[in-house]
């Protein structure tokens, strides 16, 4: 009996040693940090590069980066893992998930963690639109990582062919240009409707033109916020979009086709998209393109646009030594030289002023002028309660409802006013539900 026990033990030991031989030696001494993200393709490779650099830079911690699908899938995987008490230490969550994460009771505020672990991060150095989006009671809740903002990409040759030097500043003039481009045959369609148009052409229309999206400073001042975008100039914008769709000025790519292809193949003359689309568009040399600011209404002053993208959240319930590693990794990420590199290889904006100045003084924007548009647009003017960001609960669901209503508008099943009214009604129900669940927490 004793003998068999011992042989079993030695057997297990042998198996352990054998397995240890396969795993890289460092994994045994190092503290492992799980990092789930939503960056696929080239972006995913860049994340792996960052992680490798960090792991090579020290010997105490090993960050393991895993792509868990798109943003929706990452937040859902995180929730499932949290419920099973197997959450990773770091997760990348999109800006729409801010309130859900903030009030989840499942996170450690990043600024608190960094202060506790005595890490040197200059939190006042983050650019304003980024900091204001992810702050709660004056503190950053998550680590800014990949931030973008929509800009207007356009086909230079097609604009010249129609007799324009470039897109106009105002929506009214820009609209005339798109109609001219189509009627003169310079391009088959004026614009390709990106999948995230609700962000680039609706939310950012509201921030640039200082129109409220919801009451209580877009939700910053309380959970009892209500959507009001059906009573603003957005109605005019949606009316315009509906007209464009009906006149074939703007093309909806639909399932199985990427909207960006419609632009890069030269079929459509413009494309409203995230500045992070730079990475992809630059790799398609078939068209001569440039980019510029989003248009604004002629009678309104253009202000800052709003950010999109994601930040890194730290999950609760891990060991202190693991949090040491998390803090070290986040400190590493916030370093300006890494920020500059990330900005240049991906197209995301540099998230700190120092990183921006570094890229600028190195002459990066002389060779890549369109890369600077996003940050200039984000920093334009003084942010107002309407342009600092969006703090709405259940916001993914509310956005889904808005998109569904917009589809009915594009199909002429509803007028722009009806569609927006219905979206607001559905959105407000979701806000009330969120308020009920989180009463007293914000």
């Amino acid at each position: 009996m004793n003998l068999t026990k011992r042989s079993l033990f030695t057997g297990m030991l042998a198996a352990g040693i054998a397995a240890g031989g396969v795993v890289p030696a460092f994994a045994q001494q190092r503290v492992e940090i799980q990092f789930w993200h939503a960056m696929s393709g080239v972006l995913g490779e860049r994340v792996d590069e960052i992680v490798k650099r960090f792991n090579d830079s020290q010997t105490k911690y090993a960050v393991v980066a895993t792509n868990k699908g798109n943003y929706d899938e990452v937040i859902n995987a995180t929730i499932a893992a949290y419920r099973a008490k197997k959450a990773p230490q770091i997760v990348q969550i999109y800006e729409r998930g801010f309130m859900a994460m903030l009030l989840s009771g499942a996170i450690v505020p990043v600024q608190d963690l960094m202060t506790e672990k005595k890490k040197q991060v200059d939190f006042s150095d983050f650019i304003k639109p980024v900091a204001s989006y992810y702050q709660y009671k004056g503190k950053l809740m998550s680590m800014p990582f990949n931030s973008s903002t929509p800009i207007l990409f356009y086909n230079k040759e097609q604009f010249e062919k129609a007799g324009f030097s470039g897109p106009a500043d105002t929506w009214a003039e820009f609209e005339k240009q798109l109609y001219a481009i189509k009627s003169k045959g310079a391009a088959e369609c004026g614009s390709s409707l990106a999948g995230d148009y609700f962000w680039s052409l609706m939310e950012n229309y509201s921030t640039v033109n200082d129109q409220p999206w919801g009451t209580k400073s877009n939700g910053y001042d309380g959970l009892d916020t209500e959507f009001v975008y059906n009573k603003t100039r957005l109605v005019q914008q949606v009316t315009r979009l509906q007209k464009w769709v009906n006149d074939g000025i703007i093309q909806i790519a639909g399932q199985g086709l990427s909207p960006q292809q419609l632009f890069t193949s030269g079929k459509c003359a413009t494309y409203f998209a995230s500045t992070a689309a730079h990475g992809g568009i630059e790799r398609e040399p078939s068209i001569k393109w440039s980019a510029t600011y989003l248009p604004h209404e002629a009678d309104l002053t253009a202000r800052n646009s709003s950010i999109g993208g994601a930040t890194l959240w730290v999950m609760k319930g891990h060991k202190s030594e693991e949090y040491d590693g998390v803090a070290a990794f986040l400190e590493f990420l916030a370093k300006p030289d890494l920020q500059v590199w990330w900005h240049e290889v991906t197209g995301y904006v540099p998230i700190s002023n120092t990183a921006y100045q570094m890229a600028k003084s190195a002459g990066y924007y002389k060779d890549h002028p369109t890369r600077e548009i996003a940050i200039l647009q984000l920093n334009r003017g003084t942010p107002t309660p309407n342009s600092q960001g969006f703090h709405f609960g259940n916001y993914t669901q509310a956005t889904f409802a808005l998109r569904e209503e917009m589809e009915s508008v594009f199909a002429n099943k509803k007028t722009p006013q009806q569609g927006l009214d219905d979206a607001v009604r559905r959105g407000n129900e979701l806000l009330r539900q969120f308020e009920k669940l989180n009463a007293g927490k914000y």
């Binding site: 989840s104 993914t396 669901q397 199909a411 669940l437």
Partner: protein, 304 residues
Amino acid sequence: MPAPAGSTRGLKRAHFREARLPLLLLLPQLLVLLLFFFIPALRALSQSFVLTDPFGNSVQFVWFDNFRRLLASPEYRASIGVTFWFTLAQNALTIVVSLVLAFATDRILRGRGFYRSIILLPYAIAPVIAGILWAFLFNTAVGPISFVLHGLGIDWDPNRHGIDAFLLVTFAASWKHICYDYIFLIAALLSVPPSLLEAAAVDGAGPLLRFVRISLPMIGPTIFFLAVMNFVYGFFETFAIVDAVTHGGPGGATMILVYKVYIDGFVHIDLGSSAAQSVLMMIFALVLTVLQFRYVERNVNYDV
């Protein structure tokens, strides 16, 4: 003399003298049902009465609020309508097309196996792939079939027109399921006694008449079985196709109930509402199946 009902009961008793053996034989199936049906169903039922945040840190018991919210929502009612028409259209299309195919290949002598293999192929294709395939073929901007339709002056645009998207999903779902129905129908047709058909042929009935008057009534039970199966398929298993082709859009035109359960539960993590929806779906499915058996089955003749 018709066999009295008592004699069949006597037969069963003769085969199973004690209660233990049948229970033992049933056990594996009961266990599977318990694990994969009863426990999840009970959990769904208990979930449907609470409002919970995604992370599960705050849970409120809300009685029937989730159900009330659903039934009051125009979107949910629209989804019921879409599901009804979708299931009906898909069912009719699938059965009619597979009947025609079965009828046609039944009469083919040369290369019969070849035709059958081709017709069976779609069943081997994953629903997502099938969905993408259809979405691409009918894509407004680049799809070859859209190109033809536009050439014919048809304003085809599933990205905008709900009816186009609905047709597209219905076609894709039926196409995927025709093979299933076909296998059953061809087998049923083979079991129609040739003597009857030959007798009818001698009496001068053509192939079509023989099919309608003899084969069709004889394969009635199979058709009824397939109608139930198609209904279950349309109700629960077309999720992947909708996900790949339309995502439930445009404007909810293809938002069938099962896809809405998924969106609300797994994308938006509104577990209370999603659970309430699955409970309602279970009820709908039960009621419809019972209705089918009560009213449709009455007209099916099992005795021929």
